[in-house]
């Protein structure tokens, strides 16, 4: 179920290297300002390292939720 309107969705489940956060970094870099990228990760570390990177880089978390072990995070590109 789509909980937020996103420009692009990246399914990074089951991937360790380069890993979910690097997939997000890549998509954000390529996107336009205002784009929303939704990333799905089943790596527990993502719940900490993704929000940390998003805040540090000045982007915005548009939505965040857990579905079982799957972590969904939608990030709006702010600059």
């Amino acid at each position: 179920m789509r909980q937020v309107d996103f420009t692009k969705q990246v399914d990074a489940r089951g991937t360790y290297c380069p890993g979910p956060l690097m997939e997000l970094v890549k998509s954000i870099k390529r996107g336009q300002m205002g784009d929303v990228i939704e990333l799905i990760s089943d790596d527990k570390g993502s719940r900490v390292d993704i929000p940390e990177w998003v805040n540090k880089m000045g982007h915005e978390i548009a939505n965040e939720r857990l579905e079982g072990e799957d972590y969904y995070i939608a990030v709006r590109k702010m600059k």
């Binding site: 089951g14 991937t15 290297c17 890993g19 690097m22 970094v25 890549k26 570390g45 390292d49 880089m57």
Partner: protein
């Protein structure tokens, strides 16, 4: 009419697929029931991991280069042509010299660093991700006696271990030269740790601290001013350097982009298990050319080639395609010019670096030679 299998790209993945098919379908090829055509836009086959050793002048460049016709199996129809357009709508591939029709297509066009991805990068930065780059860097490092080496990393890039490896090897190289005290080595990474894999970051960090290698995380390069010799990050900070070793963002092949088959970076949306191009039953993708969120590495191409060849052979013989790619990747991690660790992982199992040892470095050196058996489809 033979069943035509066309492979675009004669690098690690494409060459392995072509040779494995030829070795496993010799009778069918001789009876003209199957034809395997490998389209290559270069006469050279280069073992790219060799660039690391070229940069430190540990090996001569020629050591890592062979002629394509010396590696391709005699039952492979090797054709030198630069593919311009791949057209899955008509099952045709258009090259500079000719047009090729296919029943099954394997795209193995790889990825390459985009030196124009950041303003000033091509003028200001060195790299070891191309043969010319590694040779140029070798000569600079040989002359370098004092100053600051800055390493920057962008995504996506192939071989996620290589930037960390070159950093650790630089430390050893300058220690052996006796000038390590005059050389500042600074490694940077775009996220909050020194490698995307936590276990690899945990493996490398104590080495950095022990060996006085400086590092900065959340480092996102935006511009290079080659006149002032500064790298400028997203937050506007200027970082000085004497040598800037940069691993630029990679893109897929031009032919993929021009054919409209790639995503925004030129990588082809691919099914992570059967390796077919999304929306197609006859087009397979192998190696760096896929958009799969896994390491772009030679070992990835190798394990994918095993899956893909198994399924193609089943198909040719009218049997079901049952092989699935498990996501398997294996990477060595050089810790210096003398010792190394390694990791293996797949979609289900996270990596755990092996204990660093001289043995693993030796094994990597042996693999550098064994690669040629791999490319020939023997190993």
């Amino acid at each position: 009419m033979p069943k035509k299998i066309v492979i675009v790209g004669g690098g690690s993945g494409g060459m392995m697929v072509a040779n494995r098919l030829a070795r496993q379908l010799p009778d069918e090829i001789k009876r003209n029931e199957v034809e395997i055509t490998l389209l290559s836009n270069t006469e050279k086959h280069i073992y790219q991991p060799g660039y690391l050793f070229i940069a430190f002048n540990e090996q001569q460049p020629e050591h890592f280069i062979r002629k394509q016709e010396r590696i391709a199996h005699r039952l492979v129809n090797l054709v030198y042509d630069d593919v311009q357009i791949i057209d899955p709508g008509t099952n045709r591939v258009h090259g500079d010299k000719s047009t090729y029709s296919y029943d099954y297509l394997v795209i193995a066009t790889g990825s390459h660093p985009d030196m124009n991805s950041i303003p000033g990068l091509s003028e200001g930065a060195d790299n070891f991700y191309t043969l010319e780059g590694a040779e140029k860097l070798r000569d600079k490092l040989a002359d370098f006696q004092e100053g600051k080496i800055l390493i920057t990393i962008d995504v996506p890039h192939k071989c996620p271990a290589a930037p960390l490896e070159i950093t650790l090897m630089l430390d050893d190289y300058f220690r052996k030269k006796g000038v390590r005290d005059q050389v500042e080595i600074k490694y940077t990474y775009p996220i909050g740790r020194i490698h995307s894999l936590q276990p690899v970051a945990d493996w490398g960090l104590p080495e950095f601290e022990k060996r006085n290698i400086d590092y900065e995380t959340f480092f996102n390069l935006e511009e290079v001013d080659s006149k002032k010799k500064v790298a400028i990050t997203m937050d506007g900070e200027e970082h000085s350097y004497d040598i800037l070793i940069s691993i630029p963002a990679h893109t897929g092949a031009k032919a993929v982009i021009d054919s409209g088959l790639g995503d925004e970076d030129g990588f082809i949306p691919t099914d992570r298990y059967n390796l077919k191009m999304e929306g197609s039953d006859d087009v397979y993708v192998v190696g760096d050319a896929t958009n799969l969120p896994i390491s772009k590495a030679g070992s990835t191409a190798h394990y994918q080639a095993e899956t893909l060849v198994h399924n193609l052979i089943s198909r040719v013989k009218g049997r079901p395609e049952t092989a699935r790619y498990s996501g398997k990747v294996a990477c060595f991690l050089e810790n210096s010019l003398e010792d190394a660790s390694m990791i293996t992982f797949d979609y289900q199992h996270p990596p755990k670096p092996a204990t660093t040892s001289d043995m693993l470095h030796w094994f990597k050196s042996v693999y550098n030679e064994l690669y040629w058996l791999n490319a020939r489809g023997i190993l």
